[in-house]
């Protein structure tokens, strides 16, 4: 495999600016260099077949038909040195701990608002703040038991947190399956390189859920609540339920009795459920409490949760910290609740609600990325350097009309890694989503899900828009002699 024409536009995860492999990736690059283009293509084909056999799919609903698509997988792994990962992991622990303290505070005493570290106006227009959750004290004080934070690397090599997903983050099944595929494709490298394992996640997730049971000391009954077969992440729901050995349920399988206890309908009769890992959005989870005509949820579930008869993960209302305005305050939260300096930096963020920052944003629209505070999936954004004058004028109007609803960030030049293409290895942009589990302690996945834009120059890594994935190796390269 020839690397002489490999020209990354920005920071590359495997190759240095001088064209040499990074120390952590040296063994991998040497190995791939030793393969012919045909051999590499064969490995890629083997990986595609393996993924299809394992049924690694996501569901796309279009033209009234449901299609299971295989997530594109690129065989060249992304490599992160263990020393860098240790620091990142510590940064994630710190961050998620602070976020959980924040959510608990917001639904409790609201100290952080009283002390004016975060302005009270933050709750105004927060679409994910749930009035119904005020005063509730979930077990262990934890609201976001499962968090997926998106990390991106800028041109100078700095790793930033781009956003925190505290509602129902998905993708962990791909992380686990990608490793199985990579092992089939590069067994030799796993023998000679110290690649840290990732397969502990289902057991860790089970422990996280079991720790929430309202009946400690007894074998907890745990269920994963899915919106059903038409949900794009249904594969993941099946995968996690099976690998944890818990029941996969839909809303209709559950009911809440007059005793406020949540039950499953089984052929043996009703059976009590202690913990629900819900993959249904807050607003659909209980027609008694939120959207009244939702058929995905369970009537009375919030009542049962309030009464402490069933535990919900993540807790309803946890999304309040998912907001991009709240995001801007996370470094302050870390200082406020933990009295520590943030380990992982935020992308600098301008809040349009603040007059001075708004003025700066309006004057620099051509350089900035403007995002709505509560959208996800990259919708409703303005990418300054790629925008037209008319789009900028339109966004200036939108910002002035609803300043709370917009934030702006400098345009980052996302890092790249090589992917296999017909013309040899080509650089493609990527990000990283580690998953963080919170209970008495905090667990962070080893690495995370690396999502990669398969199209040249594209910054969009979402699977729904043609993005793919890579295996992520945390490598102890000093040990792997």
């Amino acid at each position: 495999m020839d690397w002489s024409r490999y020209r990354p536009p920005s920071y590359d995860e495997l190759i240095q600016a001088d064209g040499q492999p990074r120390a952590s990736a040296r063994r991998l690059i040497e190995y791939i260099t030793g393969l012919s283009r045909k051999e590499l293509a064969e490995r890629q084909l083997a990986a595609d077949l393996a993924a299809r056999e394992m049924g690694v799919t996501f569901t796309v609903y279009s033209e009234g038909r449901n299609v299971d698509r295989t997530l594109p997988f690129d065989v060249i792994p992304r490599v992160i040195p263990r020393s860098e990962w240790a620091r990142t992991e510590a940064g994630l622990r710190q961050r998620v701990q602070a976020l959980n303290l924040f959510i608990d505070d917001i639904y409790g005493e609201q100290r952080i608002l009283r002390d004016k570290v975060v302005p009270r106006s933050i709750l105004k227009e927060s679409v994910n703040f749930r009035e119904q959750c005020v005063g509730i004290r979930p077990p262990l004080g934890v609201w976001a038991h499962i968090c997926g934070s998106d990390l991106v690397r800028d041109g100078d090599g700095t790793l930033y947190v781009l956003e925190d997903n505290l509602r129902i983050p998905s993708g962990v099944s791909y992380l686990l399956e990608n490793r199985l595929v990579a092992k089939r494709v590069f067994p030799e490298l796993f023998e000679t390189t110290a690649i840290l394992p990732v397969d502990d996640y289902p057991a860790q997730l089970y422990d996280t859920l079991a720790a929430l049971s309202p009946r400690p000391g007894e074998q907890p009954v745990i269920a994963l609540l899915t919106p059903g077969i038409y949900n794009s992440a249904y594969f993941e729901h099946c995968y996690l339920a099976q690998s944890m050995g818990v029941e996969l349920v839909e809303g209709g399988d559950l009911f809440v009795g007059d005793d406020d206890v949540c039950y499953m309908r089984t052929v043996y009769g009703p059976r009590r459920v202690d913990v629900i890992y819900r993959r249904v959005d807050d607003l659909y989870i209980d027609p008694e409490c939120f959207i009244a005509d939702s058929v995905l949820g369970v009537r009375g579930l919030i009542r049962s949760w309030r009464a402490g008869k069933v535990a919900l993960a993540n807790a309803p209302g946890a999304g309040v910290a998912d907001d991009k305005v709240v995001y801007a305050y996370v470094p302050k939260m870390i200082r406020y609740y933990l009295d520590q300096d943030p380990i992982l930096p935020n992308v600098p963020t301008y809040l349009c609600d603040d007059a001075r920052q708004r003025k700066y944003v309006l004057e620099h629209l051509a350089e900035l990325v403007v995002k709505p505070a509560n959208e996800s999936g990259g919708y409703g954004m303005l990418v300054g350097p790629r925008s037209t004058k008319r789009q900028r004028e339109q966004f200036a109007k939108l910002i002035l009309a609803r300043p709370r609803n917009y934030i702006a960030q400098p345009t980052l030049s996302l890092s790249t890694a090589p992917v296999v293409t017909e013309t040899g290895p080509q650089p493609r942009h990527l990000d990283l989503r580690p998953f963080v589990l919170s209970r008495h302690d905090i667990y962070v996945t080893t690495g995370g899900l690396t999502r990669v834009a398969m199209k040249k120059g594209s910054l969009v890594v979402n699977s729904s828009q043609g993005g793919g994935a890579k295996d992520t190796w945390i490598v102890d390269f000093e040990e792997s002699a």
Binding site: G55, G228, I229, C238, A241, Q242, E247, L248, V249, E250, G252, D253, M264, R265, T266, V267, Y268, G269, P270
Partner: protein, 313 residues
């Protein structure tokens, strides 16, 4: 075992078995029609009646008074999306039941059922002409049996498996009575009544063939086919797996593996006693229709008892 999962397991095999029997029924009758001399008319109409879809058919073909033509009936029985009993609808319903419980059965069963459905949806039109009909329907029958074989060979005999067995057994019992009913109500109408007796035998052989029972009948009964003997074989034989008695015995054998429910045992005993008490000689004489209706009503009651006991908790 979640009630919803049990419900879907049951309907998955029920619809699969329905599809297989429908394919067989159309196939055998298409063959029979080819064997008949010109002065004997073959009526497709009774097939609609016995499958209980005459009203749905009439709605689509309001001008077909009494005598529906082959093309319309075959299309309706095989491909009509609006009929709950058409071959394509049955396969689709089987697939949809399976879709939401894919994680509980071996992955290959989903692949096969999904593949069979998509193949029929793409190629079904070809079966409407006589030229390819047999080939195509045989392929559907084979496809269904491959899935049944996979389930038998590869699925653990746990609670869920009992629901797979129940679905197959109830559907086969029901389809057997419907196919008997079709045969007994005169698919063949000779123009000269003298020929009637001769063609009745042909007709009952075709009924046995529709249920893949002809060879087993010959081996076991060792007599030429008469309506009364054929009826006894299909209703009361304890060893032939598509006989009503055998299917009900299978239902009985699953019950000890499930949480006990008196209403289920009661409903089963009731339909068993109807079948046991059937006088096949009299049925051959006066036509099996009323008796088949009674058995079908008993099977509906049994299904209701099962649904109440296990699916609607």
């Amino acid at each position: 075992m979640l009630s919803r999962v049990a419900d879907n397991l049951y309907w998955f095999t029920r619809y699969l078995r329905r599809a297989e029997n429908t394919a067989r029924l159309v196939n055998v009758n298409s063959q029979l029609q080819l064997d008949l001399p010109r002065n004997v008319r073959f009526a497709w109409q009774p097939l609609l009646d016995t499958l209980g879809v005459q009203d749905a058919f009439r709605r689509l073909h309001p001008d077909s008074e009494g005598d529906a033509g082959e093309a319309d009936v075959v299309r309706f029985l095989l491909l009509e999306p609006g009929s709950p009993c058409s071959l394509l609808s049955s396969l689709q319903a089987s697939r949809e039941s399976l879709r939401s419980i894919r994680d509980t059965l071996p992955a290959e069963s989903w692949e096969r059922v999904n593949g069979l459905y998509l193949w029929l949806a793409d190629n079904g039109e070809r079966a409407l002409g006589r030229r390819y009909r047999q080939e195509l329907l045989s392929r559907v029958v084979d496809g269904c049996l491959v899935v049944s074989g996979m389930l038998t060979a590869n699925v653990s005999r746990d609670t869920g498996f009992q629901f797979l067995r129940l679905g197959t057994a109830l559907e086969q019992a029901d389809m057997t009575t419907r196919i008997i009913d079709a045969g007994g109500s005169g698919l063949i109408r000779p123009r000269v009544t003298d020929d009637l007796a001769a063609f009745r035998a042909v007709q009952w052989i075709s009924v046995l063939r529709s249920l893949e029972a002809y060879q087993m009948y010959r081996r076991q009964v060792r007599q030429r086919v008469t309506p009364a003997l054929a009826l006894r074989f299909l209703l009361q034989d304890a060893e032939f797996p598509r006989s009503v008695t055998y299917c009900l015995d299978r239902v009985e054998s699953t019950l000890p593996r499930l949480p006990g429910r008196k209403a289920v045992s009661r409903a089963l005993a009731q339909v068993q006693s109807i079948v046991r008490g059937a006088d096949t000689v009299a049925l051959a004489e006066h036509g099996p229709k009323v008796m088949m209706d009674r058995i079908q009503i008993g099977l509906v009651a049994l299904h209701e008892a099962l649904a109440e006991a296990y699916f609607r908790n």
